[in-house]
């Protein structure tokens, strides 16, 4: 009568481990199958993008509060931006999203060279974007539009402090965006290498899809930044 330990449940007969199909080399040990792994990774990426939205959302909120407080300064400051380059960059980035989506498609179809090519094109477009951005940064630096001690833009003494505030947002927001682009470019290089090694295919294209989610997100951030920073002068309150 003594040697019974309660274990909290009716005993479950041990489930025999059935190996219906051989383990995929990229199936991690703690997942039951590739389907569960894919769902978990995708949900994980969406969670991560949620934090990213809140991250950019915070600075955009601050931007909007000051935009409503100082509409004139914001309007003048946005005329200091090079809209042509901004628009070009927008198109470049949308093109890169297209090639990124095509890379996912190629991965689903298991076309090794197709994936590499599309990722390469995405990388090219991304680099173009960063190059143009660097050119703009350089120009702004020369014009004295970098906040702090390097600031020497003074064409409009009245609004200069607020324009400096705007430019703080400009550098902060585009800088964080560019940082995300650079990280994305690094990931693209790694994924190109993995695709070259033929690691993706119809069974296992999840990582490319998740990379795509990230890239599209960074693209969408720019879609917000472009009108916020370049185009608002057209709006008379």
């Amino acid at each position: 009568m003594s040697d019974v330990t309660y274990t909290g449940q009716t005993p479950v007969p041990p489930v025999p481990e059935v190996e219906e199909h051989p383990h995929h080399p990229f199936l991690q040990h703690h997942f039951e199958d590739l389907g569960q792994q894919h769902e978990a990774s995708t949900l994980g990426m969406w969670c991560f993008l949620t934090t990213e939205i809140l991250f950019f959302g915070g600075i955009m909120l601050a931007y909007w509060i000051y935009r409503l407080a100082y509409p004139d300064a914001w309007s003048v400051a946005s005329t200091l931006q090079n809209t042509t380059l901004g628009a070009t960059n927008t198109i470049v980035l949308i093109m890169s999203s297209l090639t990124m989506a095509l890379a996912v498609r190629e991965a689903q179809l298991g076309r090794r060279l197709g994936i590499v090519a599309m990722l390469f094109l995405t990388l090219i477009f991304g680099s173009c974007f960063l190059g143009i951005k660097m050119y703009e940064y350089h120009a702004h630096w020369q014009e004295g539009l970098f906040p702090g001690s390097a600031w020497h833009w003074n064409e409009n003494p009245e609004l200069a402090p607020k324009i400096q505030l705007f430019m703080t947002f400009y550098w902060g927001m585009t800088g964080l965006h560019a940082l995300h682009m650079i990280i994305g470019a690094g990931l693209l290089l790694w994924f190109m290498w993995r695709a070259w090694k033929d690691q993706f295919g119809p069974e296992y294209y999840g990582p490319v899809e998740i990379m795509g989610l990230y890239w599209h997100f960074v693209d969408i951030v720019w879609i917000f930044l472009f009108p916020f920073l370049y185009l608002i002068h057209g709006h008379k309150h």
């Binding site: 100082y70 004139d72 402090p161 309150h237």
Partner: protein, 355 residues
């Protein structure tokens, strides 16, 4: 004797101290009672149903929904009651009486500077009359401070970019603590002082110490010094708006919106004149950001306020003229207290030296 060395209750020395303490005591009794009851029930149940050889397993109870609903709804109703009481008190503390005596305070690391309407200045000590509402307009020269007068149960953060104001009406004479309640750096705990609440007659004689002219007259000198008067003339010929009677009034701006010319509007119009340009005028005024310090700004503000007494010279703004219809109601959601009460009524002229 001992009790005064070891107080358990703060002194009540203002009109809001009583209502604040009443709410506090009520909450102590209510929450203390409910907490104590909960503890006793837990203790009783834990003893009554302690594990014994016979009581090895709990009895399964199906929770009655009604009970759950009760302890959701009843606390919720009580909370709404406390909320309303607390809000009522908040509004009461936020609403400045019309006849308040105006005093200007500037916080800087690590001292409190007070300026009276008569031009008297003091540091870390504030003399006020008993039984008379006092409104303090607050500014900071550097970081955020907080003027805390525990005996009066009032406190207000002092910000570097705008005016705040608070008020109290002392109910007894004596010395009461001034603390800075918002951490402001090395000597934060040394940014303290005393409020000296005096009988009105003693206050009068203290004021008679006087200073180099009233605050408003010092403001007028600055008004001349910065050449404000070349544009802001007393007739409609100037390039800037006439300032007579503008304080506390409603002003129409160039975009047809209407703002109230309160403390913060005056401040902004000096520091950032093109933000809100009065309709019919050109945005030509230069900024005075960085040229006028916080104390001088308060002097200019006092001068602009004094212009509301049109028949008196600004130096002796004895009349409390120009009462606004909306005085009292907190109409400006941007600031905790309204600045709707108008021309100050400094009680004396000022001559001589501070005590």
């Amino acid at each position: 004797m001992m009790l005064s060395d070891f107080p358990l209750w703060p002194e009540q020395a203002s009109t809001v101290a009583g209502p604040t303490d009443t709410l506090f005591i009520f909450l102590c009794i209510l929450t203390g009672g409910v907490s104590l009851l909960t503890f006793l029930v837990i203790f009783y149940l834990a003893v009554r149903y302690r594990r014994t050889p016979e009581n090895q397993l709990a009895q399964d109870i199906e929770p009655p929904k009604a009970l759950e609903i009760t302890w959701i709804v009843v606390p919720a109703i009580i909370f709404v009651g406390i909320f309303l009481w607390g809000s009522w008190l908040y509004f009461h503390i936020a609403r400045v009486p019309d006849n308040a005596l105006d005093i200007y305070a500037t916080g800087k690391q690590w001292m409190w500077k007070f300026q009276h309407a008569g031009g008297q200045r003091e540091i870390n000590t504030l003399h006020v009359p008993v039984n008379r509402p006092v409104r303090i307009t607050l500014a900071s020269e550097d970081v955020i401070h907080s003027l805390f007068l525990p005996a009066f149960r009032v406190k207000m953060d002092v910000l570097p970019n705008r005016y705040r104001s608070m008020w109290f009406q002392a109910t007894k004479t004596g010395h009461f603590h001034i603390f800075c309640a918002e951490y402001c750096g090395t000597l934060h705990s040394g940014m303290i002082g005393w409020v000296d609440v005096m009988e009105p007659s003693a206050y009068e004689s203290w004021l008679a110490g006087g200073a180099e002219g009233s605050l408003a007259s010092q403001g007028e000198q600055l008004f001349q010094k910065y050449a404000c008067s070349t544009c802001h003339t007393n007739d409609a010929t100037g390039r800037g708006p006439v300032l007579l009677g503008v304080y506390g009034s409603s002003v129409m701006l160039s975009d047809d919106s209407i703002v109230k010319a309160d403390d913060n509007y005056i401040r902004e119009s000096i520091l950032n004149p093109r933000a809100k340009v009065v309709k019919g005028f050109q945005p030509i005024m230069p900024t005075f950001q960085g040229q006028v310090n916080e104390e001088d700004l308060l002097k200019l503000l006092a001068y602009v306020k004094s212009l509301n007494a049109p028949n008196k010279p600004p130096i002796e703004p004895k009349s409390a003229a120009g009462m606004q219809s909306n005085a009292g109601a907190p109409t400006n959601p941007g600031a905790m207290t309204t600045t709707s009460s108008t021309a100050t009524s400094a009680t004396t002229t000022s001559k001589g030296q501070p005590r």
